[in-house]
């Protein structure tokens, strides 16, 4: 299974998560978001970029509770809330945002 973008074929697993996170590009994120029915805004990008930085530092995708706490610390209580994340990513912020960001599914999320 693979996404086709710009003449390239990018492998993914049965749930749509990338097999190799290094193949992710912002253009691919646009395609993945569209598949999820999401129109990317600056607010979406803020979360995606945050997740990618988190992954870079800790080598895991955070659980939702941990993501909310970390966002709160960085961007304040308005953006560090479950509600805010669900508005951006209605079908599960951790799952959807990680997929769009090219990260694996968060551990503990089954």
């Amino acid at each position: 299974m693979a996404y086709e973008i710009g003449g390239e074929s990018i492998e993914h697993d049965e749930e749509g998560y990338l097999s190799d996170i290094n193949q992710w590009t912002p253009e691919l994120a646009g395609l993945l978001a569209k598949d999820e029915g999401i129109e990317m805004t600056d607010e979406h990008w803020e979360v995606i970029n945050f997740l990618r930085e988190y992954y870079e530092e800790y080598q895991i995708a955070p659980a939702i509770r941990v993501l909310v706490k970390a966002l709160k610390k960085k961007f304040g209580p308005e953006k560090g809330s479950n509600k805010y994340l669900y508005e951006l990513f209605p079908y599960g912020p951790a799952k959807q945002a990680c997929k769009v960001g090219g990260l694996p599914k968060p551990t503990g999320c089954i």
Partner: protein
């Protein structure tokens, strides 16, 4: 698990202890154990993590894993604080036998003697070893 967690916290909290006794690479035990710890933490359990025997190597700074073709997952131990997992213990005897000190480790830990560890173990409800 459901992504939306209960704001009031979990209904049942148990004292879990995860005992790491194996070197980080060569087998998947260490990585799988860390996943188990993260899952217990996601369910907001009272998590204790112990490193003893070769398990203390899991916390060693500056791991270089290219040669064994495995992901260096030691940075993930630094994420545990964000998961409210702060009860990390290293057995004193194991650390000393390998010529290591807490300065060599990627995260702050409490160093316990074998005897103190024994009494901490006796207070747990669930103990998993790998």
């Amino acid at each position: 698990m459901e992504e939306e967690w209960d704001e009031d916290g979990p209904e049942v909290v148990k004292r879990f202890m995860y005992v790491n006794r194996k070197a980080p690479y060569g087998t998947v035990y260490a990585l799988e154990m860390l996943e188990k710890v993260l899952i217990a933490a996601a369910f907001e359990q009272d998590v204790h993590v112990v490193f003893m025997d070769d398990g203390v190597y899991q916390l060693k700074k500056e791991q270089e894993t290219k040669g064994v073709n495995m992901k260096n997952f030691s940075p993930t131990f630094r994420a545990l604080e964000g998961y409210d997992v702060e009860k990390l213990y290293v057995e004193k005897e194991s650390l000393e036998a390998r010529g290591l000190t807490v300065e060599d480790l990627v995260v702050p830990v409490e160093v316990l003697s074998s005897d103190d560890l024994k009494s901490l173990m006796s207070k747990q409800e669930v103990i998993l070893t790998a």
